[in-house]
């Protein structure tokens, strides 16, 4: 059994070593293997299609026909293209000229928003900021309590004037939080919002209203790395419904390939800024496109070998 894409491509090409130009059949066979690998990694179908077209074109070119080992050359191209899509320009958090900087989180139910709010606040505090967490999920049972516990763990104050569990207006809370932050010298505000579905127009409108009330400097779309083909629908629905500037990918500590990263980046053009890698406060990192590329294709160390070849 060939486990990884590199193994499979190497087998496709095994008869070819040193023969020069790839035939159209070789290229089709290659494209099929790459398509399979990407789909198994949950990359969205429309994105796979475009990606494959791109790879085919480069595979027909000189760089492959001249390579000593066409298989490795193709893998290298695939990796380059992946990193390019995933990466783009690296983005730092945009801080407001007039504090507080407002960061709003949005995403599906259970994606990891509240956990990420704590991590983000912890990370910001570690960089000499004075963040304030804002409990604007008044929907989910005990979302407010959860954020308070998270805030305690991160030693970051939590603005929670409403009890939640269906009581209170999240738009009002978000609005008041800015004034509260100004009065208490918090230079960053991190707003946790309720989970919502892309098709829930009422809840999506609520997110847009929160946005309009606080005019965030950054809206982060929080998405679970285990998400499948629905990533495109959801990413687009949140883009249309509330809009976002960047993406935070969660639960990367599991074994999901995380093809959604590629899909969302490709479809929305929004960069992936943060990676969440566990349930604890410190399980948090800036996003590394190169690591993600080899993760999606399950390439492991092969790339290092190719680079050295």
């Amino acid at each position: 059994m060939f486990e990884t894409l590199s193994d499979r491509l190497t087998s496709v090409f095994s008869s070819l070593r040193g023969k020069g130009r790839l035939s159209e059949e070789d290229i089709s066979a290659t494209a099929r293997e790459i398509r399979l690998a990407l789909l198994e990694a949950d990359v969205a179908l429309p994105v796979v299609r475009e990606f494959i077209a791109q790879i085919k074109e480069r595979a027909r070119g000189e760089e492959v026909s001249k390579a000593l080992n066409p298989a490795q050359q193709v893998i290298k191209i695939v990796n380059e293209e992946l990193v390019q899509i995933l990466g783009g320009e690296t983005r730092e958090v945009r801080f407001a000229k007039n504090p507080p900087t407002v960061i709003m989180l949005a995403g599906l139910q259970g994606a990891g928003k509240t956990t990420l709010a704590g991590k983000l606040a912890n990370w910001l505090a570690g960089q000499r900021n004075t963040p304030l967490l804002v409990a604007a999920d008044l929907q989910r049972p005990n979302a407010v309590t959860q954020l308070q516990v998270v805030g305690q763990r991160a030693e970051v104050p939590v603005f929670a004037p409403q009890p939640g569990n269906g009581v209170g207006d999240p738009i009002e809370v978000a609005r008041e939080s800015i004034e509260h932050a100004r009065r208490n010298n918090h230079n960053v505000v991190v707003i946790d919002t309720a989970g919502r579905l892309g098709v829930d127009t009422e809840m999506m409108q609520q997110a847009a209203d929160i946005r309009d009330a606080v005019e965030p400097d950054e809206i982060l779309f929080v998405v679970d790395a285990m998400i499948g083909q629905d990533a495109v629908n959801t990413a687009q629905a949140f883009l249309d419904g509330v809009g976002y500037d960047a993406v935070a990918l969660t639960k990367l500590d599991g074994d999901a390939r995380g093809g959604a990263a590629l899909s969302i980046r490709h479809i929305t053009g929004r960069p992936i800024m943060f990676a969440s890698t566990g349930e604890k406060l410190e399980d948090f990192d800036l996003f590394h496109p190169d690591r993600m590329a080899s993760r999606i294709l399950d390439m492991g160390d092969v790339l290092t070998l190719i680079e050295q070849a």
């Binding site: 198994e40 599906l108 990891g112 309590t145 959860q146 285990m226 499948g228 629905d230 599991g254 349930e279």
Partner: protein, 294 residues
């Protein structure tokens, strides 16, 4: 079901074409892939359907339509027993454990299940064996309050097995009909946490048999769902699957592979965040949603 997909919309239209050419078959395969059925399964389903269409000499769109629907239904295996065992035995309550990776809807499902049983005139105890996540026990307690079921809980960080044991003990003492144990979300790759889950079950079994171990799978999950199910099945021998968040645009096609490989049936579906948004799994509705006929 309520979910609709732009891809699904066109599927049966494709089968209405005069001839089923390669493009039409590819598009059928794409539709299945887009529902998270998985590329290998999708290819197999299409292959098998192509063969049938050829053998039967199917011409009319209606026949092809029926064949595809039948094929998908066969994949789901409508004959599987999907009842949830909630009947007490003798002086022992039924014991149900709710397990799964983080954020899939375990606590919500525990609450909804309790609601169904209480609504049916039965008494329920909820066990808050998630002692790890921030405010997890509070969340379950809110659910308990909503649906009228007492919650057995301990302090944050307490041993989840001991909470589960106490919940079952309390259920037996009080002579209730069912005990539902909510457990912490854990990724199947974390061996320490999976061992802990195995221990929760073994400790409960010292007191009573466990009637159901329900794995909660989020319908938005892609191919990783199969890996989750494999490991949970190995560690705690799951007896059923709850497919949550089917009220969104995701189809949950991964359960086709899960059911086929593990033989564990999907028993319930989650259709929202409210107490009444839990329903028995309906294979026909599930298939129709994939076909865009929901």
């Amino acid at each position: 079901a309520r979910s609709q997909s732009v891809f699904g919309q066109g599927l049966l239209g494709l089968l209405s074409r005069d001839t089923l050419d390669d493009d039409a078959w590819d598009e059928i395969e794409d539709t299945l892939i887009t529902a998270d059925v998985g590329v290998t399964s999708a290819t197999q389903i299409v292959q098998s359907l192509r063969t049938k269409v050829k053998v039967l000499g199917t011409r009319s769109p209606e026949e092809a339509r029926t064949l595809l629907r039948e094929e998908l239904l066969a994949q789901i295996n409508p004959d599987l027993e999907r009842g949830v065992r909630t009947e007490p035995h003798g002086d022992r309550p039924a014991v149900l454990m709710i397990v799964g990776v983080n954020g899939t809807g375990k606590t919500t499902t525990s609450g909804k299940l309790a609601r169904v049983l209480v609504g049916d005139g039965r008494s329920v105890v909820l066990g808050a064996a998630d002692t790890f996540r921030a405010a997890a026990a509070d969340q379950l307690e809110t659910w308990g309050g909503r649906v009228g079921a007492p919650v057995v809980r301990k302090d944050e960080g307490a041993d989840p097995a001991s909470v589960a044991f106490d919940a079952v003990s309390r259920g037996i003492e009080d002579g209730v009909d069912a005990v539902i144990i909510d457990t912490a979300g854990r990724l199947h790759t974390k061996t320490g946490l999976m061992d802990e889950l195995g221990k929760v079950k073994r400790v409960v079994e010292k007191k009573s048999q466990v009637d159901e171990v329900l794995l909660v799978l989020d319908a938005t999950t892609g191919q990783n769902g199969l890996r989750q199910a494999r490991v949970f099945a190995e560690v705690v021998n799951i007896t059923g699957i709850v497919l949550t968040k089917l009220d969104g645009t995701a189809k949950g096609g991964i359960i086709i592979q899960v059911q086929r490989e593990l033989g564990v049936p999907v028993k319930l579906v989650g259709l929202g965040e409210g107490p009444d948004d839990l329903a028995p799994f309906d294979p026909e509705a599930f298939v129709d949603a994939i076909l865009g006929e929901g």
